[in-house]
Every structure is written in C-alpha cells, then in structure tokens.
Symmetry: none
Subunit: 419 residues, 2 copies
C-alpha cells in the first residue's frame, strides 16, 4: 500500500511555477505514515496523462492528483480519468448548486464553462473544496485503487487536503504510524569526513540515519517510524546522543536551529555582548547576527571597514601592518577584532578580512583567503586562516560570515563546558 503524487500542468513543464504542492503533499504523506515512492509531473495532454496514470496505478494504491480541475478546455484531469477507466461522466446537481452559491457569495454569476466542473465519473464521490469553486473526486475505479483529485492553486489544495482528504485517509486507518525525524546540524567538518566517523549508524533500520550536505554545513537526519511521537523520540534520542558525542564541537544544533540562534542563546546564557568589524563581508555578519529578534540583548553594533583608511581611523589598525602584512593578514584581523571590541566596549569582537574575488588575488594571497579575528574583553585575541578556494564572491562572503560565527560559537561553548 503506497501513494503516488501526479501533478498535472504544462506550466510546471515550462518552469513558470515552482511545484510547492508536491513538497506539501510529501510532508503530509510522511506525517500520516503513508509510503510514497514516486512523484510525476505531466502536462495538460490527455494521452500522456493517461499513460502516467496507467504506470502509477500498477505501482501504488492511492493516486493523488493536483491540477487540471479548472473550467477551461485545457483542464483535463477528470475526463482523462473517466476515460481511462471506461466510465461515463455525470453532471452532479449538488456541485452545480454549490458553485452557483459560491459565485453568488462573491457577487458574480456562474458562467457556462463552470458546468464542466460539475462532471464526475459515475460512482465517484465528491471531495469537497472548502474555498475554491471546483471540488475534487474520491473514487475507487477498481479494488485496491483510490483516486483523489485536487486543484492546482496551492492555497485551495492545502485547505482541501487538510479539511477533506486527511479525515478520509484517517478513516481508512492511516495516520496510526508516524514518521518522526530529527535533523542534526554540523559545521567545520565535511560530509565524507563526518560520514566516516558515523558510518555504523547508516546501517540502522529504525531509526534510519542519512547524511545531507549544503554550503558549509552537513546534516544527519534521524527518522523513526512508530505508533506515537513518544516512541519515535525514544528510538531517536540515544542515537542522537551518541552521534553528538562523536561529533563533539562540530555538532551545533538540531532541527530549526541555525548558527545565529545558537550563538544568540550562548551569548544570552553568558550575558555577554558582541560587536563586529567587517571588511570583505561588508556588513553580512552583522546582518546575520541581527536577523534574530531580540538581538539587541547581545549585539551592540560594528564597523564596516571596507577601505584601509576606515580600518586605521575607526579600528586603530596600524598603518605599518597594512603596508607590511597587507589588509588580508592575521595581524590585521587581530587588530580589527580588538579595535571593535574596545571601541564598542563589548565582551567579544569578531573581525573578517579577506579576498572575496573575483579580482584581487595573488599567488601568495589567492581569492578565497580570509582571516577571522576573535578578541575577548581581557585583550586576548585569536585569528584563524581560512582558504575557501576560488569560488563565487557570494559563496566566499557567506562562508566567511558563517565561519566567523562558528568560531565564536566554539569559543562560547568551550568556555561554557569548561574546556
């Protein structure tokens, strides 16, 4: 018993719209514990749609359609379904009534082409649409095959799913098993390096553990399938604990946590404040820190020192070091961090200076070379050299800001844990 999603619409094949419906349905099916192995998109073409339904109905027992229920001639989902299962379309009086009333409520008259939306295959049930004009169908054209159709407009589809499809699916016994997941998040370690450390968990079957990677971050998803959320958590928790222990400081948070929220929590717990001195990121780190509501509790401000003159005048960077070591150097990063920490009177000062490219690189200082400085209120200052490689300017700048944030996180966490 599994479900399959079929999205109908030439606009999806042209790339005019992003298919957010299928992501919504995928999440919903997972939360109801309904297995779902394929998603298909097909245009407003009855021959191809028919072929897609034939293939899907051999693989799955519940077919969920979105799109093609409108009043115009290119809306073909219902008639293609009826045609495939050799069943006549019948005009439903109650749908005509309902559509007329909805039009009347909006002060409009139902047009002739809306009558098309009242046609359903003989024997099919109406799947009510609480917000839009057209209902869907709920139909078993043969044993062990249930079809459900939804409009393509996301707001209508979602409301209809929640109000009419979910109650039906639950009445059929679904939703008794839940799939519950936790996403663990890591920084400062590559996907393959982390995978090597935790490889044994990939063999597990319940919960399962799977790795994902995105820019500068690796994630492990732990998923359990059980009768209740409590049981799922009981399965997930020990695995999560063990992985977190293995990963040490590289693990930074789970689920909706991000580096900014994690650093915010650590700073609030320590009742400490931070300020930033930014060169190549131009304010990006400050922007990330202030993306969190309530960031005024721990963020005071910063200096965007893009030009050397600003580094000298507002941060106290030494002209000699700018000349001898260059603006992109460990010593300048240290002076920037210390300068902003002192001038703004914060517990921490973080600085970033680097070559974001595409120009400005040399053999000894290539594009992607970035120094991060981290100063504390005792005047102690560290610096970190990062080599992000000759990548896009945006990527280098983003990696610079998040790496700087991660350096502060590690420092705060190590201090908290007494390491």
């Amino acid at each position: 018993m599994s479900a399959e999603v079929i999205c109908v619409g030439t606009e999806l094949l042209l790339g005019d719209i992003l298919n957010s419906n299928v992501q919504f349905l995928a999440k919903e099916l997972a939360s109801l514990g309904i297995p779902h192995y394929y998603q298909t998109v097909v245009g407003d073409n009855p021959t191809r749609l028919k072929e897609v339904i034939e293939i899907a109905s051999k693989r799955a027992s519940i077919l969920i359609f979105t799109g093609g229920l409108g009043p115009t001639p290119d809306d073909l989902t219902t008639e293609t379904i009826a045609n495939l299962f050799d069943t006549p379309l019948i005009e439903r009086y109650e749908i005509i009534e309902d559509i007329s009333q909805k039009f009347a409520a909006r002060g409009r008259i139902m047009t002739e082409n809306n009558r098309k939306q009242a046609l359903l295959p003989q024997g099919a049930d109406i799947l009510p649409n609480p917000s839009g004009t057209a209902p869907g169908l709920l139909w078993q054209p043969r044993p062990n095959l249930t079809l459900m159709t939804f409009p393509g407009v996301p707001s209508e589809m979602k409301l209809m799913w929640r109000e009419t499809a979910v109650p039906y699916l639950k009445s059929q016994g679904w939703g008794k098993e839940v799939i519950y997941s936790r996403m663990l998040r890591f920084r400062g370690i590559g996907e393959s390096a982390l995978a090597t450390k935790v490889v044994k968990f990939f063999e597990l079957t319940n919960p399962t553990v799977a790795p994902y990677a995105s820019l500068g971050e690796v994630r492990l998803r732990i998923s359990a399938k059980t009768a209740s959320e409590e049981e799922a958590i009981a399965l997930i928790e020990p695995v999560a604990q063990e992985i977190q222990k293995i990963a040490g400081l590289d693990y930074y948070g789970s689920d909706d946590a991000n580096l900014a929220t994690v650093v915010a929590d650590l700073l609030k717990q320590a009742a400490e404040t931070v300020s930033v001195a930014e060169s190549c990121t131009g304010g990006g780190l400050g922007s990330i820190l202030t993306s969190i509501a309530g960031s005024s509790d721990y963020f005071r401000g910063g200096i965007i020192a893009y030009e050397n003159r600003v580094k000298i005048d507002l941060l106290g960077v030494k002209t000699q070091n700018l000349e001898e070591d260059g603006a992109v150097s460990a010593i300048v990063a240290q002076q920037m961090a210390l300068g902003v920490q002192q001038r703004l009177g914060t517990d921490w000062g973080i600085s970033i200076t680097g070559i974001a490219g595409p120009g400005g690189g040399t053999i000894t200082k290539p594009v992607g070379l970035v120094y991060i400085g981290l100063a504390d209120s005792q005047g102690k200052v560290d610096s970190f050299e990062c080599r992000f490689g000759n990548r896009d300017r945006d990527i280098i700048r983003s990696l610079s800001s998040y790496t700087a944030l991660d350096k502060l996180r590690r420092k705060l966490l190590a201090k908290k844990l007494g390491m």
Copy 2:
C-alpha cells in the same frame, strides 16, 4: 526527440526540500526549445530508480538526472545507470586528480569514500562540475539515448548546467529557434499600478509582455520567438523603450541588473563614494553594496549602530533627539546619515533606523516603520518615512535596505539627468 528530468532523492519524497532544480531545468529546456513532457522524482532506491529510467528511456531521448552523485552509500545514480545498461564502472584517474586538487585548495584531504565519485560507466564522458567535487556523466548507452547527470545541490547543478551542459546541447543543434526575453525591472510602483499604465502591451503576441511581482519589485518580461537573437532584439527593443519612457524613474534596469549594480554604475560614473549607518538592518545594506566585485571604488564602509550608545559615540546622534524623538525618527535618521558621511568623508551617507519586529512596536510607531536618511557632502540631508506593515522581520529588513538603495539611485539618476 524530447528530454525528461529525473530527480533522485528520498529527501524530495519526504518533503524536506523544495524541488527548485526541476523548475530551473524546465525553464532552461524551454529556452533551448527542447520539448519536455515528464518530470519524475524517485527516492534513493536502486530498484525503483531503475524502473523509472526504463520507463523514461522509452519516452525520451535525453534523460537529465539530478541528485545521487555524492560520496555516501545512499548516492546511487551512477551505479544504477551502469547496472541497468550492463556496463562496468571504471575509476577515472582524471576525476581522482581533480577531486584531490579541489580538496587540497580547501586545505582538506580527500577521504576514501570520495573515490566512489570517480567511478563512471565504461564509455561515458565526464560532465565537468566547475564548483563541487563530483562530476556528472554524459553518456550514450545506446543510439538515440543520451544521459546527463548533475548533483542535487542547486548552486552546483546550475553552474554545471550553464557551463557544461548548455554548450553540449547547443553543439547537438538545440537552441536554434530561440525564445529571447528581456526582463524590465521596476521599484517604487505596485504591480497593478504599473499594469494599468502599460495595459496595451499585454495584447501583443510577438513579442509578448507579461508582468511578475516579487517582494518590493515588479518586472515585465518581454519575450520574442524568432530564428535569431538579432531578430528577437529588433522586436523587443521598441517595446522596451516605450515602456521605460512610460515608467520614468520607477524603471531601474533590465535582465541581470539589480539595485546594487545600478547604484554601483551611477556612483562610478559620478566618481562618488558612499558610506552607511545602519540600525535595524545591522549591516544588510553594506552587505548588498559590497556584493558587487570592485565595490571598493565607491564604498568606504560604515557604522552598524544597533545600540543607542553607538549612535551617539560613533555617529554623533544627539542624546536629546534619541530621548525626545526616539531612535526611530526622521531626525535621528538624518543625524545618522550626516554622521557617517562626515566621519567617513564620503560624498553620500545613507542611514536606516526602524522597527523590524516582531516586538518593539507601539500604536504611534508600529512594526514596519522605518526611516531612511540620505546626506550629501554639502551637508544637505533628506529623510524618508516608510511603513512596511507588520510583516516578517526578514522582509522588513530586506525592504529597508533595498528602499534605501533605491532612494540613492533616484537621487543619483535625477542629478545625472539634470532633473
């Protein structure tokens, strides 16, 4: 001859991620004139993936895969393809070389599991991946069937598509009838207001004109379908000219132009410099200004004055005004703009102070109230009151930064045109 897109990844079936890759590919295929009738999503399961490839290879002559090229055991696309076409996988020395070099450039060592990414079916060509570690394959396992694989990470996939797949497809004769478009971009006017002004163009058939709206911006897409780019431009140009004339200062640029590039060009033409003083945006405006390579020509830096103390100490904002008018007021925005313009010695100073929410709003100063200050080197300073409404913090901050940039753009443009 048609193409088909197959996206591989259990995370898509679980609804963890929105499938933006398929929308990108759909648009690209349309612009190359390659017909494309089906999109399929399947999980990291070799049996099901094999079945999907078998079905697709009967319907289409170009199969485009995304996902499943990573180094971990659940990345199965390449081996499933090889297996289906009964072809052994061969380790490619040049891929090992390339991956090792990429790891080295980032100061990391290639791990053993990355070797998996160097395996390609015998006879397949390498489809180079300019940014990520794993390349794809380009392979004709039998006449009239071409397979192309891409990683699932959107930034990698897109770069790889543009740099390696498009040249290949063009060499195969695709893209001869071109759909050529120009996107005109507008700020400071709503979609319906702009549509009303240019409604007559919506009737055109070649080129066509269609409106799009996104946060704070309206776009008009002018598309022509012709045999050559020159012919298309000849159709598009007069329409674009006429629309730009109607829109006046609300039109700011076309195609890849964005507010930052437009302001950059205007500042460079005028040989003028700018600095920023940011409160609620926390560095977001500086970050946008420095997103452009070469921004050191006109951007000197700024002060992130999140806390009032920083506004007083580093920008010279008057304590009296902070107390009487509040930090979110026209007068404080003016003092901030003037303060940063003077302290950094730039031609222009822009400031932003506002209530980004979700907390901090009052009846007289609700969430979404933002003041923008704009000072010039003659000591003249303007301020602008914006009411962005009780929306998401991120949205209010983004609208604030872009509106500030747009105020500078209008000022620079008016000056340039002698208005």
